[in-house]
C-alpha cells in the first residue's frame, strides 16, 4: 500500500504534465468568412489534420482557435494554401503553450455576441 500511493501520485503528475505539454493553442486570423458554412468549411479542413483535437471560431473577429498536440507543426505557407483552397484569406498565427479548450474532443463554434 505504501508503494502504491506514491506511484499513483507520480503517475497522476506525469499524466498532468503530459497533458499540458501536448496541448498547444494556435490562434489563426482568417479573413473573408461571413457565414456558418464558412466556419464549417474551415473547421472541417483543420479537423482533418492528424493531431488537431479541437477547433473553435469567432466569426465576427475572423479568429479560429485550434487546440493541437505536438504532432502538429503549422506553417504560414501551409495555412495560407489551405484557407485559399477553402475560399478565404489566411493572415497570421500566434501560438501559446496552453490550450483554452475545456473539452478538447468536443468541437464547438463560438461567435462573439
Amino acid at each position: 500500500m505504501l508503494k502504491i500511493i506514491p506511484l499513483s501520485i507520480v503517475l497522476a503528475l506525469m499524466g498532468s504534465a503530459a497533458g499540458f505539454a501536448a496541448d498547444t493553442q494556435y490562434t489563426l486570423k482568417v479573413d473573408g468568412m461571413t457565414c456558418p458554412f464558412c466556419v464549417a468549411t474551415s473547421e472541417k479542413a483543420l479537423k482533418k489534420i492528424d493531431g488537431v483535437n479541437a477547433v473553435s471560431t469567432d466569426l465576427e473577429a475572423g479568429i479560429i482557435k485550434v487546440c493541437a498536440d505536438e504532432k502538429v507543426k503549422f506553417t504560414d505557407d501551409q495555412l495560407k494554401e489551405m484557407f485559399l483552397e477553402r475560399g478565404f484569406t489566411y493572415r497570421s498565427m500566434t501560438k501559446t503553450q496552453t490550450c483554452a479548450h475545456a473539452a478538447p474532443a468536443k468541437h464547438e463554434t463560438k461567435k462573439a455576441g
Binding site: D31, C38, R86, T109
Partner: protein
C-alpha cells in the same frame, strides 16, 4: 412565350470561393471551394396566362433543375445545369402536355478579384458557357447550341450579402429558327434576419432575400424573317427567404413581373415560385 424562354426563365433564375448565401433566381454565383462538390436542386413552377382575342391562353411550366458544381482550383469552378421539365398548355379548347429533359447548360467561372477582410469579402468573377440541345426540339428544347457569358460581382459580410450579374446569351440558328439574343442584369440582396445577435450556439442564419431581374430579348427569326410576336423587355422582383446552416441551405422566392413589355402576342409570365435545397460535399 417559347419553350426555350420558359425553360431559361426557370434555369437562370445559379460564384469559386465559399461565400455561403447566394442568389435564388440565378445559378452563376453559387459558391464552391477547391475539391468541393455542390448540389442545388431547384423546383420551379412558372405560370403564364392571358386572354387573346377572347381565347384564354394558360401555360404552366414545372421544372426540376439540378445544378452540380465542382471547384477545380481555388479560383476556377465548373458547373452543369440539367432541367427536367413539364409544360402544360391550355389554349382555348386545345390542350397539350409535354415532359422531358430540357436544354442543359455547362459553364465555367473564374475568380479574377478577391478582397477579404475580417467578416467581409468582395469578389469578381467572369463566367462563360454553352446551352446544349439536350431537350426535345420544339417540345422541351429548341435544337440549337447557344453561348452565354457574363460577370458576377459579390460583396458579403456577416450581416448581408449582395450578388449581381450581367449576362449576354447569343442564341444560334437551328432548323431555320434563330431565337433572339438576350441581355440581362440581375441583383440579389440577402439580409440576415435571425439571429439578430450571435451567440456561441449560432449555427444557422435566416436571410430575407430581395432580388431584381431585368432582361432584354431580341426578336426571333424564322427562316430569316423577324417574328413580330417575340422579343421585348421584362423586369421582375423576387422576395424570398433563405435558411443557411453549416451543411445545407433551403430557400424559396416568388418571382413577380413588374414590367412585361413584350412584342405582339408573346405570352408573358404571371409569376414563378422557386424552392430549392443546396448541399456542399
Amino acid at each position: 412565350m417559347s419553350v426555350r424562354i420558359i425553360i431559361l426563365f426557370c434555369l437562370f433564375i445559379a460564384p469559386a470561393g465559399a461565400v455561403m448565401a447566394a442568389p435564388i433566381t440565378f445559378n452563376t454565383a453559387l459558391p464552391v471551394s477547391k475539391g468541393e462538390v455542390l448540389l442545388r436542386q431547384q423546383f420551379i413552377v412558372t405560370k403564364l396566362s392571358d386572354r387573346l382575342n377572347g381565347t384564354k391562353r394558360d401555360v404552366t411550366a414545372r421544372a426540376g433543375v439540378s445544378v452540380l458544381g465542382y471547384g477545380v482550383t481555388p479560383k476556377l469552378a465548373l458547373f452543369g445545369v440539367a432541367p427536367l421539365v413539364n409544360i402544360e398548355r391550355k389554349i382555348g379548347t386545345m390542350n397539350s402536355n409535354v415532359t422531358g429533359l430540357g436544354d442543359a447548360s455547362v459553364f465555367a467561372r473564374a475568380e479574377v478579384f478577391r478582397s477579404d477582410t475580417p467578416g467581409k469579402t468582395i469578389r469578381i468573377a467572369p463566367f462563360a458557357g454553352l446551352t446544349l440541345p439536350t431537350g426535345r426540339k420544339n417540345k422541351t428544347g429548341d435544337g440549337s447550341t447557344d453561348g452565354f457569358a457574363g460577370l458576377i460581382f459579390t460583396a458579403a459580410s456577416i450581416d448581408w450579402n449582395f450578388d449581381s450579374q450581367i449576362k449576354y446569351v447569343a442564341n444560334r440558328r437551328a432548323n431555320g429558327f434563330a431565337r433572339g439574343d438576350t441581355a440581362s442584369m440581375d441583383a440579389s440582396l440577402q439580409y440576415r434576419l435571425l439571429p439578430q445577435t450571435m451567440s456561441n450556439t449560432t449555427n444557422a442564419f435566416l436571410y430575407g432575400v430581395m432580388e431584381a431581374n431585368f432582361t432584354y430579348l431580341q426578336r426571333d427569326r424564322i427562316g430569316g424573317a423577324i417574328n413580330p410576336n417575340s422579343g421585348g423587355v421584362q423586369a421582375f422582383v423576387s422576395p424570398g427567404l433563405q435558411y443557411a446552416t453549416r451543411r445545407w441551405i433551403a430557400e424559396t422566392a416568388v418571382k413577380i413581373p413588374v414590367l412585361n413589355d413584350l412584342h405582339g402576342t408573346a405570352l408573358a409570365p404571371d409569376y414563378a415560385l422557386i424552392t430549392s435545397l443546396r448541399f456542399n460535399f
